[in-house]
Symmetry: C2
Subunit: 343 residues, 2 copies
């Protein structure tokens, strides 16, 4: 049985952004998606992810992920429902009606190789959680804090971008794992309130209210032991100044400079890393999928018990996908930014 | 029996240098040193060490070592001979005629607590080697390469300041431990020749001949896995660019900026540490004295077999101590800079 083609809208990158991306760098195009061939499934996407790292893929530079191609659909995490299965599916394999997590977002319908989709359970948490708290950002927080930064109970942790999908989870995992003190920075007073009142941070500050170094020193008068960096720039420099001896930083993102058209100033106090014996370590979540089982069990348990909170910022409609992405770079989101596709 | 006092010349810091130190920042003063009390020895220094890290101690800033005090003698590594022992020495303890390594250099005679002097054997190597290849710089190289940077056989190593006391040893230990390729930078063509012809480096370049990044990329076309940083600045930035994924840097010194009066530019490409999953780790040799036995045995063996070479730059006379120190900051030395005190 052959499935007829479907009409799908998908986002193409039509030119490479210079600095801050603009809507004109993208185009929403209508295409026909063929029915699935053997070993394929056709998925109707229900939620798609927009993430800061995607900014890097819009540049034509060699990196850990290939650049998006011009006039081709962008991609990224998505969850959806299987609407058709190609000929000769494997017994026990994916079936029509199954919910799946896969990597072909930025479009309404995706033709996915069965080996590149994972069946997910829609019952314990909303489907969109598989893009956030139980998905890639969640694992990033978990692996970055516990493995890359080697956090230990009794330490003081600072996380920047703390109201974001990754940062909010870093702070809460630190608290649940016995941190002496958890400090976060965010870009609005409302986000700071969220950190203090809902996420259980011990201290938090709005980085737009004054120099980061001074605010951090005040929020962590005993210094910090771990820094989880989502921002770079002045945040990293402040952390280096506040580090206690043998402090460790997980370098996860540097959103402060993703739109920079020339190299940004780096931490001018890096020489302090010698005397303090600091470790700065870059990370990509892709190295840590061996922790997926442990992560899902532990964090899933905390969510079920109500001990770990999360927020999502939901934008409706594929046609608003680019606007949602631009909003992330401005810090519009609280928690994971998700684009929910109209039914 | 009471030992009469001796007359000794010692170097005092008389004002804190601004930028590059000048001779006027120091004064050689003649003092009387009392005979040793109980639990003390009087040592006539034979060789004293001048090291780049001492520049930091001339500033009035909190660091891992206290600043030198104004109008007080400076201190640092020295080897000498015991000329008097205080009352009631321990059986088997230090005796007149013993050679010792201790921390009260920058002077002709030192009154040392017996617990702060270590007996050394003058037979296998020249005494001055205990200040260099078998001393603090040697252990720095050994621990920094093997423990801090986690060097493994088959990797490519880059070391800056490679003709210096630490750098020359880093490169040779890497070679002896099975590096795929050892690359060094130094500040003169003559030093580059030494690296290639005597120390067995696979490639070396004079950083004054052109931008470091380009010269490093040419010297290590397959990229580098380990960087041992004695220099900072453009060298660290070049290393970050040349790193292969999962590269590690031991941050040991940043001599390029020791005389800086304002914070120097830091590596503008630090964001590459994320995608490449780099680790930058500061070190102080003081954390690694547990490796002393293993280090002395392994490196002592290589020296005895002629497989590890070293150079010293010797300056004669305590009165030339400051000039020797200033020379280090200019890069005048090849290998360890030692001040030998006139008999």
């Amino acid at each position: 049985m052959t499935t007829p083609p479907v009409t799908s809208r998908e986002w193409h990158l039509v030119r490479r952004p210079e600095g801050v991306p603009t809507p004109e760098d993208f185009a929403l195009r209508e295409v026909e998606v063929a029915g699935p061939g053997s070993g394929q499934i056709l998925v109707r996407n229900l939620h798609m992810s927009v993430d800061p790292y995607m900014r890097g893929r819009m540049n034509d530079v060699k990196s850990y992920l290939p650049p998006f191609r011009i006039d081709r659909p962008m991609d990224g995490g998505a969850v959806g429902v299987v609407v058709a299965v190609g000929d000769a599916p494997e017994p026990g394999g994916l079936a029509v009606g199954d919910h799946v997590l896969h990597g072909l977002g930025w479009r309404e319908y995706a033709l996915v190789e069965t080996g590149r989709a994972v069946r997910i359970d829609p019952r314990p948490v909303p489907l969109s959680a598989y893009l956030g708290v139980l998905g890639m950002p969640g694992l990033t927080a978990y692996a970055g804090l516990l493995r890359v930064a080697e956090f230990k109970a009794g330490e003081t942790v600072f996380v920047s971008g703390a109201a974001g999908a990754v940062g909010g989870q870093v702070g809460q995992i630190a608290r649940l794992k016995g941190a002496a003190r958890v400090v976060g920075s965010a870009g609005s007073d409302e986000k700071v309130k969220l950190l203090l009142e809902e996420y259980g941070f011990d201290a938090a500050f709005n980085y737009r209210n004054g120099p980061v170094a001074g605010q951090l020193a005040q929020a962590a008068p005993g210094g910090i032991d771990v820094y989880f960096d989502n921002v770079g720039g002045d945040h990293l420099e402040a952390a280096i100044s506040s580090f206690n001896p043998h402090g460790r930083a997980a370098l996860c993102g540097m959103i402060a400079q993703y739109n920079a058209t020339e190299p940004p100033p780096a931490p001018r106090n890096l020489a302090l890393a010698i005397g303090k014996r600091l470790t700065l370590r870059g990370m990509l979540v892709g190295d840590h999928y061996d922790l997926q089982g442990q992560f899902a069990e532990e964090v899933g348990g905390w969510i079920a018990e109500g001990r770990l909170r999360y927020r999502e910022t939901v934008v409706e409609g594929v046609e608003n996908g680019v606007e949602a992405f631009l909003g992330i770079l401005r810090g519009d989101n609280t928690g994971k930014m998700v684009v929910t596709l109209a039914a």
